[in-house]
Amino acid sequence: MPGPNRRNRNQPRPKVNNPFKTLKRLLGIIFKRYKIHMLFVLICIVVSVLANVQGTLFIQSLIDDYITPMLSQPTPDFTPLLMAIVRVACFYLIGAGAAYAQAKIMVYVTQGTMKDLRSEIFSHMESLPIKYFDTHPHGDIMSVYTNDIDTLRQMISQSLVQVFNSVITIISTLASMIFLSIPLTGVTLVMVVVMLFITKNIAGKSGKYFVAQQNDLGTENGYIEEMMNGQKVVKVFNHEKKSIEEFKELNDKLFKSSYNANKFANILMPINAQIGNISYVLCGIIGGALALSGATGLTLGKLVSFLSFNKSFSQPINQVSQQFNSIIMALAGAERIFNLLDEKSEDDNGYVTLVNAKKENGKLVETNEHTGLWAWKHIHQATGEVEYKELQGALVMDDVDFGYTDDKIVLHNIDLYAKPGQKIAFVGSTGAGKTTITNLINRFYDIQDGKIRYDGINVNKIKKSDLRRSLGIVLQDTHLFTDTIMENIRYGRLDATDEEVIAAAKLANADSFIRRLPDGYNTVIKSDGGNLSQGQRQMLAIARAAVADPPALILDEATSSIDTRTEKMVQDSMDKLMQGRTTFVIAHRLSTVKNSDCIIVLEHGRIIERGTHDQLIEQKGRYYQLYTGKTA
């Protein structure tokens, strides 16, 4: 398969290049779609934080303001306490309610965003040019849908809320602390700076090893993949011991980086927790000294409150620093998602469309029925005049050059003339450029130089979807979809009836084997037709092209995996299918292309011979050589 510069899949995933831009874009998406939702979420978070704070305040005042006074009363009056408890309980209920509402709304925000993003990614992906799929490993594309979306889900549903929550807590706590004692706030902040400094250092180390771990995992993954792919060869060559040894080396390396990465990640939490405790002790000692000296107006009561705030201050900071890693990971994922979304779609400036037509009084008229007659509808841009031109299937390539990348041209000076209804065959060894030429006809790729004309119209002017609809194609690699056989064949034309599908299957000689399957036409094909033989899959692909009933056909090694005997049977029906249609055939068996109107011999991206079978035999060139097995 042609595919230039496939990227090595083992290289590490890139880091976030532009975290703030990505974050802004991500938040933009969420807030734009869920503005009101997010407003409610913010309110709910504030309410539940406040409910929690008033609870903490109540506990502090419980003893001093309610219990101690009661102790001094001869008959303790429980009414003030009861009132306070009822009040607190109400606030608590509101807080819990807000927390519930917040969580519930976030489910819809998170999942809604995920769904929209998924759909957007998918529909954008479908619009991307084939080149994108050539140049991006499929595993990487898949991981956008799985890993990247997953980390994003976690970030939106957990990190985002937690960071909000923490920020509000930090602000309110900080304000209270400053109000209580400025010097002690200073001590607390110094300890926070120490905490952040250590976090940054350790997280940096751990991050370095995590990258190393990712790399080692990638290398090991590649090795496993290679060995598993070649497992049968390993067995045949008794190579098991050697590969186990090689694997052990890689595995030991992975162990080391994985151990180090986790080690540093693990010690971060206990270190921070203990720094928090030390901050508490320091504040206790310094505050105690200050309070006893009475210099700064710090009373013992204020000190007690301050200490509890000190405790609840380091917690959210700890939490935010914990979330930091997952946010970075999610942003890296978001960046990959945005990269895919920013990928340029296949451009299509075509305005000539394909319509069903019928003849009325010798003139072409557009119709909605499937008449078997097609016309190009050409709306002149300048005058708005509509012109119809019958689709005949004439194709001309005029001095076409093409390369997958600009600096490496693989097809040179291709000239080609196909008259309507002709059968044109391409032959040549692997890599000569046969498939590439057909990929240019349906504009999977765009040419560097030259012109391609379809019925006299430059293919660039034809709307891509209509161009492709006019060309039935059986690709070299047969791909089937997870669905019934019936639906897989119907893929060629969605409104085909069951009868039409079965007729197409009969034409491709597939009917008999389909009927032998346990559920006949309703047998579900799994994992790209893994339960069918290569030959059977090709027959289904032929049926799929047949049901489309297209004006022109491209058959790229359509029968390469069907054995010679069966091929003979398919060949007759293929000939029937080709009748009256312009057909481009790529084949390796010369017998199947012998009756072509023109055979084109390609070598290294150039046409070296062309003509009918008889003409080429007479030329005694490359074709003759291969056909007869003799050297001229």
């Binding site: 769904k115 598993m228 010690i267 206990p270 000692i285 309070a291 690699d477 290569q534």
Partner: protein, 582 residues
Amino acid sequence: MIKTLSKHIKGYVRDSVITPLFMILEVIMETIVPFVMSSMIDDGINKGDMNHILLTGSIMALCAVLGLFGGTMGGIFGARASAGFAKNLRQAMFENIQSFAFANIDKYSTAGLVTRMTTDVTNLQNAYQMLLRICFRAPVSLICAMTMTFIINAKLASVYLIAIIFLGIILAFLITKTYKYFNKVFEKYDELNASVQENVTSIRVVKAFVREEHEIKKFDKAAYNLYKLFVKAENAMVSVSPIMMLTVYGSIIAVSWLGANMIVGSELTTGELTSMLTYCMNILMSLMMLAFIFVMLTMSLASARRVAGVLNEKSILTNPQNPDYNVENGSIDFENVYFSYNKTAEKPVLSDINLSIKSGETIGIIGGTGSSKTSLVNLIGRLYDVNEGCVKVGGKDVRSYDLETLRNEVAVVLQNNVLFSGTILDNMRWGNENATDEECINACKLAFADDFIQSFPEKYNTKIEQGGTNVSGGQKQRLCIARALLKKPKILILDDSTSAVDTSTDAKIRKAFRDEIPNTTKIIISQRISSVENADRIVVMDDGIINAVGTHDELVKSCDIYNEIYSAQTSGSGDFDQKGEL
């Protein structure tokens, strides 16, 4: 399953035992801190006793240091134990897979095995680390805190006990409910991703048939269904944290009220009430932690099952008790052989095969797709075992030989052959580790690979990329043949191995075989008549049975199938390459 996995802690048992101990140390320190803290407030700050503040402060600092020590050590040993566990699992899986017979290999896809060895093992590594570090921490913290509260005041402590039981029941209920939902979600999720995968690999078909809109509609519908399921599952979860909050708040209020009454009744001191309230959070947090671990562990169960599946898979081919280490000669006999890949299959893949091949003979095998040509030759190197009858090599049943010996003497060039990343010479030495450069070059000459290798700038040191993507199909096949030749086998099997080699080179290779290795038994499977027509005998396979055996001339006269293939191919015998690469 757990038994299978736990075997692989080997080498890291010490770390696995030490980790929880350190974590327990950390927890104990954490439990002591609030205790000392309340003393600092009650007896130090409130009484203005600076000495007591300093004393409790230093105790707390000591606790912090000990806690730090426990926490870091636990972190370090936990990381080691879990990384080691993962390493052992991967190694054991890889080694076990190396022992697999072909029939075992057929069961798993490459992608499936890679996932098992990477993603699944990573899941288990994380789960194991959590098990060691948190699983012991949470219950110990719970027990410590509970003990403390009971020491302070048993009556008030019972409030917590009730709260724990209440929360426990609710969490258990919610978890089982959501677990069920999430299972469904993951199933749908996998399906969705499978369909994306399909679209990525089949993008050409989608585009060729202009089915983008159709696929997008299908995807949107599936994405919406997934959304609905996800919302359902997560909605069942959202009540967890509010319920948790309500329980905490409820306990605080209950303890405050009851505590106030007890203080008034002189059953409790104010300091004790403060400590009780501090432990409240400790208790409920650890309970939450336990629930979380439980969820995570159940989620890793699926991974554990998949990994254990590979570890427990036993190779169905084993070396005999007293293996034979000597293969006499290259003769092969099939005696009443029946074979099928699946023992329950109705129709065997091979039926009633009887065939004698003399040492040094060249045998061609021909037949349609699915006529079991490959299955037939795979039995010779004992890649699979027969169901009935026996296959003999050198006059002895293949099952009596040492597997390694047998496979060294029977070289198979597989149909779907693979080159490995490394230089050409590295690849050649798969055939014989100790081969000299000259021997490698000779083998390549014999397989007509030398010419094109010489045309590479780096010649024999040219790097082959993974899967051999930088050489053409025909070149790859010739390299594979050369690699097999280096084994100097008594039997050489070419399973459609020259399909991408052009006809004239193919003929030259066969001639070289005839001249250079006349004593090696050669079996050539091909779709091309020209590849087999000069063989001593040709076997025509049809639908799992031998249809005819004979020389080319005999078969042309007597065998319909052979004749049909022959006439189909002679009307255009040449081709550029039998199969397009990839």
